[in-house]
Symmetry: C2
Subunit: 432 residues, 2 copies
């Protein structure tokens, strides 16, 4: 019988916002955590390439390192926190740490979305463990809930606001009536958006996260390339106004649904009913909605931030320590035992809000409506504002449920009409 652990050593690789947030939370809560777990918890090494830039926390020189090998080669280190981000060198470092039997905690969504299955396999073979609570929803404990309390649930849908940058931009557009460009600039000014915001505004970040959530919810290893992805750059303030008139807000949702034995996987803006628990989640907050056969659950919390994500990492460290102490690593393993194929996007059925830029001329509405009808798309609402004859104006349509293929065909035909300059569709999420 192995003797129970009385001390656990932690190494941190990458000391930016998240790495320093983690150390800060660990140190501030050290007494409480140690008392609760009955184990001494020490950060023994922190590795970063750059010790010049200033941080919110001061690290004694004896703990500082510059080479990940200082942690990987140190057999006294039980738990490695990977807080570098991106695919490499994070992947090689995490893989080696797991091979050496170390428990790894990482909030790296790209790493988990692309290499999660492989890394979990490595962990299984070496008897180590991999935790990644912080990879989705920052400080929201959704991964843990899916692994533990919701494991027995028959989950039908999981969708969420998982990107704070785009939610901030959409909230600004909605609350202040500003354009996408103005809202983006404000987000950049506040540090919520990168100078090159593509990863966020085009939905790549959200696609990583829904791939992770879907894999856990449906026990199927989802390939992130199978996630349909559409960003928020084409949205207009008028879209938000039209949505509001009909009782909706516009949100960028990451969506995974099981329909019979196929998965829908998609990231795109939606009209969400304003009564939905996710509709009032504004700013950089994140939220995740889970619908199972027996319950609808909503989790709301911070999507990013060093200490919020640090708290998620510390939550994982606590779980890791308990498993080390009780020699039960692997007790809450992942089981990707199902293998649901992904439904082709053209077969996905939605309601749509369609915005058409057309000339205000006699018969225009009839021509557009005829094209919808010819493609089998029936309409539930239309709004043509008072406009200037012969000038371009936005006309809005709300369709009934229709397969994506039919809607896209209708848009194609409508765009070819001489009186039409553009046609753009936003999907409607009925919200359960």
């Amino acid at each position: 019988m192995e003797e129970k652990r009385t001390r656990v050593n932690i190494g941190i690789i990458g000391f930016g916002t998240v790495g320093s947030g983690t150390v800060k939370v660990l140190w501030e809560q050290k007494f409480e955590i140690e008392r609760a777990l009955g184990v001494t918890v020490e950060v023994v090494k922190i590795v970063d390439k750059d010790w010049i830039r200033s941080r919110s926390i001061v690290i004694p020189p004896s703990l500082r390192g510059e080479d990940p090998a200082e942690i990987l080669n140190d057999d006294s280190i039980d738990i490695v926190v990977e807080a570098i981000g991106g695919l490499e060198p994070a992947f090689s470092i995490v893989k080696e740490a797991l091979e050496r039997g170390k428990t790894v905690v990482t909030p790296n969504k790209e790493l988990i979305a692309k290499k999660g299955k492989e890394l979990l396999q490595v962990a299984l073979q070496s008897g180590s463990e991999l935790f990644f609570e912080g990879s989705v929803g920052g400080g929201i404990p959704i991964i843990h809930a899916l692994k533990e309390q919701l494991l027995g649930d028959d989950i039908e849908e999981i969708f969420g606001i998982v990107n704070g940058t785009t939610n901030f931009i959409l909230s600004e557009m909605s609350l202040k009536g500003v354009s996408y460009q103005e809202a983006l600039r404000e987000a950049q000014r506040l540090g919520y958006a990168e100078p090159v915001p593509t990863m966020d505004v085009e939905g790549f970040d959200a696609a990583y996260k829904i791939a992770i959530l879907a894999s856990l919810s449906f026990r199927t290893q989802v390939d992130v390339d199978q996630v349909y992805r559409e960003g928020i750059t084409a949205l207009l303030p008028q879209d938000i106004d039209f949505a509001r008139e009909l009782g909706y807000v516009i949100k960028l949702l990451a969506i995974a649904k099981k329909d019979k034995n196929q998965l829908e996987l998609r990231v795109h803006p939606v009209l969400l009913p304003s009564w939905h628990s996710l509709a009032s989640v504004n700013g950089v907050e994140n939220a995740i909605f889970v619908k199972s056969r027996t319950r609808n659950l909503t989790f709301i919390g911070p999507g990013a931030g060093g200490e919020a994500t640090g708290s998620a990492i510390v939550g994982d460290i606590i779980e890791a320590i308990r498993n080390l102490k009780y020699s039960c690593r692997g007790r809450a393993g992942y089981n990707f035992t199902a293998n649901f194929p992904v439904k082709p996007m053209k077969e996905v059925v939605n309601q749509y809000c369609v915005r058409i830029l057309a000339y205000d001329r006699p018969g225009v509405l009839g021509k557009i409506a005829a094209e919808f009808g010819a493609c089998g798309v029936s309409l539930s609402a239309v709004k043509q504002p008072v406009s200037v004859p012969d000038q371009l104006t936005h006309i809005y349509f709300l369709t009934h449920h229709t397969p994506e293929s039919q809607l896209q065909l209708a848009l194609e035909h409508i765009r070819k009409l001489s009186v039409v300059s553009d046609a753009f569709a936003i999907r409607v999420e009925s919200g359960s």
Copy 2:
């Protein structure tokens, strides 16, 4: 080295709504749960006094029993689900099961609130385990979150809508403008309220639940008798209207806060800002808000219901099975290592909405305002509706922050005024 479990036997004691909901979820998810855990999971005995009444699920006669001893004395049964409710015989049964080394899962809030500490001690001594996710928030996995992912958080506040009956009544009053009595009758008609609704409408049920949440959040064994408790029976539709005008909704909240080294523990109606994530939680839904030093989290979900609570119980069963399989029972034990005293209610500081029933006579407002001022209560808003001279009318006041003792003294003086018939206060929860 003990051989790893390949089979776990479960006994269910009490086969009402929750017991049958649990068995239904277990059976419907049996294949998935077994595949995920690698263990055969069998319900081998279900005990109830009454096998005549109809249920949503049919149980083969071979599984039926009438005496809890059939489960307690059966050494092949690893996990006991207590779904009787109330203090006795539940307490004696759970205690004996734990003493015999069985893992117990129970959603019994009264049992846990009153006897949780004692039962956890029994479990610790016998090496068994006690789980009670379903005891608070029905299907919301808040207990598990507090035990695991949030264990390292420095929690400052936890409050929630933890009683579906009262939330339904308040939602009806708010959405339909009906009186408390009318809303109660509707709740009773729909089966949401008992014929004698005292446990719900006077806040006893919510007090049990906040005692449990506070104990876990602050690592202090809270005595349920220390929870200040006030129900919803005195609320008027006009209160809701006044609140709405100021941007608030009225909710019955169960509140626990740490202020320096004292705990505030209270259940009472509050004015909650309409922007708060709990403000739009309507009907029988429950929701819990946690504010820690690093993150604000909201959990929303079903507060009751056989299958929703059954799913919470199944979540506990899964955790129990993992701990049996990996021989790590006790890994996520509870640590009531802190001992914060409860702050006397008179020292609690709040804003208040005060409703005064007074005669519309010259100088009334001045007299009332003078009494507030004399007790050091300053006012932030007043509303006196157009009324009939010399008739009774409701005047509303919103105070600034003031200790409970001063407010109560002011009310006492105001009630003594000859022009005043009644004075009633509702606390304001700023929502962090």
